[in-house]
């Protein structure tokens, strides 16, 4: 998850403070349309699994909590964060 948070900060340098796990990343425009595919690629890299956009919804990317639950839960990413 740290890689995901770091990526969000890199794309939004004006951000100060913590990105809450329930913050709406889409409504808050922390992930804009031009960056969205790059965000998908990052999640694939972190989770170690490809993401089929035909099987997911916008809500799956809306908050850090949902992203962790949907893509990173139990995967290599969590092990990386806890390491």
């Amino acid at each position: 998850m740290k890689q995901v948070v770091d990526w969000l900060y890199s794309k939004n340098p004006e951000l100060t403070g913590e990105i809450g796990t329930e913050l709406d990343l889409i409504e808050g425009r922390l992930v804009d349309s031009l960056d969205f595919l790059e965000f998908i690629y990052l999640l694939e890299e972190v989770s170690g699994s490809p993401i089929d956009l035909g099987t997911v919804s916008v809500d799956d990317f809306r908050t850090l909590a949902r992203i962790e639950e949907r893509f990173l839960s139990g995967g290599p990413a969590l092990q990386d964060v806890s390491a």
Partner: protein, 165 residues
């Protein structure tokens, strides 16, 4: 200003009819930063390009010798404007499912597929058009769409109803 094609005139006529009838006309607009597109292309490479554009679009884009990044940005702006036109809710409309191709005469034309076509269906949009422009570091696009016009039926006036009764 270039002369409108027959298709554009037909669409404009339909849209004006929609407006005159008080029917909803959907609009989407987008502004894309051209250098940002070039930077992403350099960094993310062919996969990013292939996830954004169809094979037919890539074939067209290959033929663009000058201002390639501006053309890419213009097409992306058109795709985004079209997505805003569709206003999908929780469903994804993939860029690759919105083909922006060049019609005869050079005007952009939208071919909606799969996720885009499904979203258009949910909004009952059956006709649409996009326009793209570039200036300096920016590409902008506007998309306009309208539902199907109801078939014209007989005109019933109060007078005729009175006569029938």
């Amino acid at each position: 200003m270039s002369a409108a094609t027959t298709t554009e005139r037909s669409l404009l006529t339909a849209l004006l009819a929609e407006l005159a009838a008080g029917a909803p006309v959907a609009v989407g607009v987008d502004l894309t930063h051209i250098p940002s597109v070039g930077e992403r292309l350099a960094r993310l490479g062919p996969r990013w390009l292939g996830d954004q554009f169809s094979v037919r679009e890539l074939r067209e884009l290959d033929g663009v010798r000058n201002g390639g990044h501006a053309t890419l940005a213009g097409r992306l702006a058109a795709k985004e404007a079209f997505i805003k036109l569709l206003t999908p809710q929780d469903d994804f409309v993939l860029h690759r499912d919105i083909e922006i191709l060049r019609a005869s005469g050079g005007a952009p034309v939208v071919h909606a597929h799969r996720s885009a076509l499904a979203a258009a269906g949910r909004r009952a949009l059956t006709s649409w058009s996009v326009s793209i422009t570039h200036q300096g570091d920016w590409a902008a696009a506007v998309a306009v769409g309208a539902p199907a016009l109801p078939a014209p039926g007989p005109v019933h006036t109060h007078h005729t109803q009175e006569k029938r009764s």
